[in-house]
Amino acid sequence: MDVKVEGGDEFANASYEKICDDIFRDIGLRSNIDRAYMYCNAAEHVFIISVKIGRVPSPVKVWDVTQREGDKLRITDEKYAPKLLALMWDKYGDRVQQISRLVIGFELKEEEIPDFNDLIVYDPREDLNTRVLDGIDRILPEGARVRYPMPSTEGITIIASENQIAEEWKEKAKEVMSKMEMTSGEGGT
């Protein structure tokens, strides 16, 4: 992930670069974001943040997180265990039992197995937007509560301020988006 912060003084820029880096790492998005750019104008209290989303990991399937041991499945990544069990109980009901913490027993016919292996346990795209917006919310100063989001297909740009957002900042945000090689989208409130 490439992070750049401009507009503030030297200390603020360096500090916000670190904040962006740490926060996106904390919410597990660092490898999914291509570039993040932030423009800070503390004198007029306007902050523009633009995030370009890059490669998103492919959906996690049953065979990615389990290992077959005869008529049992051993969960290899416990993080997905609740979602996996919920999915299997939903689809196969009583034919699936949780034998121990990481072992699942199943009574499935051999022809059902390939379909079963391809079931999607978790799709990172599902909550990607929520997570990106949560990250942006944590980065932007808390006082900047007036927001103007400008979404695009590749990512999102948000203008934040404590005052009304003037046209010149919307123009600036468009400039930022073109620099980030994102297509300009419709603005909202």
Partner: protein
């Protein structure tokens, strides 16, 4: 501060009592003991020898006897927990009792404000530390609005390294990680040194116009009348010019009637209910009340 084992530590307490010193805080954790002590400077050798004999350590606490409020613009994840908790923890290690406070509407630049009640709560403490963010322009506009009206000494901790503000320490700002590296610890040390100076002014003021009775002495007297309950943490907090006594409402009368020398506590101090916790006892100066003996 004495830290050591529980073996014979009561002997140290006896020595302290013999020389007319006080135990400010005492904490026994299984086999470990921690005590904050106050004693006359000339007796330091004796106490040091005793601590050595017991196999413990004696450490100087420059901020002992002060209750400090750490104020942040809000308690949201932008300001808490780092660096506010690091700063509070460091001041606690230097002997201060710290409280933390997030303002209701302290965020932003133009919109930042402090309510009258918040101001009154901060002024109950001996001093305040304001932990602000990274932007020079924001701090320059916010600091006078939030801090200048306060009647207690204050210090501002912020991001930009050089700002022309009174009692300002820069280089901290917004953090997402604990301040536990060497450079961070040095910064916290620098902050404590500045804070000592801030508090020093207030201590000097009190020394020039002494109080009718020492808060330490009043604490002893209160504890003789209302012994602390088992497991209660810091029932009496010492301030530079008084105390915070955490008692139930019915016990207020008992506090008022405590005899300090030949006077009652209510005669030599102002007692009022704290907006935050317990009752505040503000000891008047000797010039106002006259001698207590």
């Amino acid at each position: 501060m004495f830290t050591g084992g529980v073996y014979k530590f009561h002997e140290l307490k006896e020595v302290i009592e013999d020389i007319g010193g006080f135990v400010l805080q005492e904490m026994v954790m299984q086999t470990e003991t921690m005590m904050h002590l106050a004693f006359p400077e000339e007796e330091e050798r004796r106490i040091r020898d005793k601590a050595k004999e017991l196999g413990g350590k004696l450490k100087d606490l420059p901020l002992a006897g002060a209750e400090i409020m750490i104020v942040v613009p809000s308690l949201g994840k932008h300001h808490a927990v780092y660096p506010m908790c690091d700063i509070a923890e460091f001041l606690r290690r230097k002997g201060a009792i710290t409280n933390m406070m997030g303002l209701a509407r302290g965020v932003g630049k133009r919109i930042a404000q402090m309510t009258v009640q918040e101001k009154a709560i901060i002024e109950e403490c001996d001093a305040a530390v304001f932990v602000l963010g990274d932007f020079k322009e924001c701090i320059e506009e916010k600091a006078p609005k939030l801090c200048e009206s306060l009647n207690v000494p204050y210090m501002i901790v912020g991001g930009p390294p050089d700002l022309d503000l009174p009692h300002y320490v820069g280089g901290v700002g917004r953090r997402t990680r604990r301040m536990n590296r060497k450079a961070d610890i040095d910064k916290l040390e620098e902050m404590t040194a500045e804070f000592k100076e801030v508090l020093g002014g207030r201590i000097e003021e009190i020394e020039e116009d002494p109080l009718a009775a020492s808060p330490l002495f009043v604490k002893e007297m209160i504890e003789m009348t209302l012994p602390p309950k088992a497991g209660e943490e810091l029932p009496v907090v010492i301030h530079l010019d008084g105390l915070r006594v955490k008692i139930e409402e019915g016990d207020e009368g008992k506090i008022r009637d405590i005899e300090i020398g030949k006077r009652k506590l209510s005669e030599i101090s102002e007692i009022k209910k704290s907006l935050y916790e317990g009752y505040l006892v503000k000891i008047l100066t000797e010039a106002v009340t006259g001698g207590i003996f």
